[in-house]
Symmetry: C2
Subunit: 222 residues, 2 copies
DNA sequence: CGGCTGCTTGAATAGAGTCAATAAACGTGG
DNA sequence: CCACGTTTATTGACTCTATTCAAGCAGCCG
């Protein structure tokens, strides 16, 4: 079932749009390769990135239920994607209780991650938002590529990291510096390495949600 | 189908717990009457309220996918609830594509609302967080009780509103004062009335997500 | 070797938090 | 019905931290 959804792959260039703000989004995308960001301009004019998508993610699960999406969805790197028209979602619901449950689970997971981000976004200490960003990104990437161990390449500019964490680009730079000085991370260009992951975890009380999944309630069969 | 889920109602007293942090949550709750808050203590020790539930909400949709919930779920008022064991979710997935889709839609809606909150939480202007809180709450309550028009009773203390918006209790008081001075709202005790709803909307670029739902992709039948 | 973009650093500003003191509202029991 | 104590709300003074503006510094590509 899932395989049938991923028949036709498609390449997308960096900077291309998968969806534009205030338009109807009538398909989902399954991201096979690359990073995607959802951006949104806020009333004050500042750009925000509510979500960053990584390989394996289903893009648009929080948008298809609405007549128009509030987000602009952009390829942050070169991509490989599979399109997933909305009617196919209807088919899935009709035909496969298990895959339906998986979609529901995905949505729940996204919500849990966003909850964690929401809490941290409300603290004043900005560098902790960066810490959570790094930890969540690492966890997510490890899911698909366990061999990454303790480091990853972040294709986003510091300005974009700021938009994703709610900091100004300037402050992202300062926060990285602080983490370097505390010997919590190392960095070479856009590679980040965790020098002291337990230390980072305890700073924000981080829990890897992927490690505490319980999907025993999913129906068996296809 | 849905009716069968709501057979046995149950009363819960204010202050009672529906779930405790770091325990397994193996049932959902359908909230019939009253307000419920999910609370969480953050690393620094400050209390946060990531979600406030209102009549009609399904409580715990972001928690059942995990072996333990990060949230403590508390009755903010006297409640009427229906329990919804996790196995029943499995039944729903197996038996009713449409209700499965509805659950998925609910989860998507929650996500969209949280996205809006996340964006606003990242701005510095605190009184705007309060504005969004009021607007989202009003929209949500109107869903079930359209006759409310432009006012509602908020059973939460200002300290709790602060925990829900990411402000200190003190600052909630100041922000309310500011909105009163701008003639955007009126207030009598814990009743809030919108004196200028368009004005409030434009402050935060508010969009009522409930009014832009598109559920045409839900399968027909039960 | 320019010219671009992205990163770093400094100084000044603005806004939210904290602490603390008061005032108002609410509930309880006499 | 009133007096008391507790909780909740308001206000002021001060601190701390992220932002903004601005200038300088890489690093990359043509």
């Amino acid at each position: 079932m899932l395989a049938s959804l991923e028949k036709e792959q498609e390449e997308v260039s960096e900077g291309d749009f998968l969806a534009k703000e205030n338009t109807r989004l009538d398909e989902l995308f399954i991201l096979k390769k690359g990073w995607v960001i959802a951006t949104r301009e806020e009333a004050s004019g500042r750009a925000h990135i509510p979500t960053v998508y990584h390989p394996g993610d289903v893009i648009g699960l929080s948008d298809v239920a609405f007549t128009h999406t509030p987000n602009t969805i952009v390829a942050a790197t070169q991509l490989t994607i599979c399109r997933f028209p909305r009617e196919k979602l209807t088919d899935v619901l009709r035909q496969s209780p298990r895959v339906s449950g998986l979609f529901l689970a995905l949505s729940m997971i996204d919500q849990a991650l966003m909850n964690d981000r929401l809490i941290v976004s409300r603290r004043t200490d900005g560098y902790l938002r960066l810490v959570l960003f790094l930890l969540q990104t690492m966890s997510r990437l490890r899911l698909m590529e366990p061999r990454l161990h303790d480091q990853f390449y972040c294709p986003l500019t510091q300005e974009q990291i700021g938009a994703a964490t709610g900091l100004s680009g300037v402050h992202v730079s300062r926060s990285i510096k602080k983490l370097l000085e505390l010997n919590l991370i190392e960095r070479h260009k856009r590679f980040f390495r965790f020098a002291d992951e337990p230390g980072l975890n305890s700073l924000v009380g981080y829990v890897d949600r992927y490690e505490s999944l319980d999907l025993s309630w999913l129906p068996e069969g296809d």
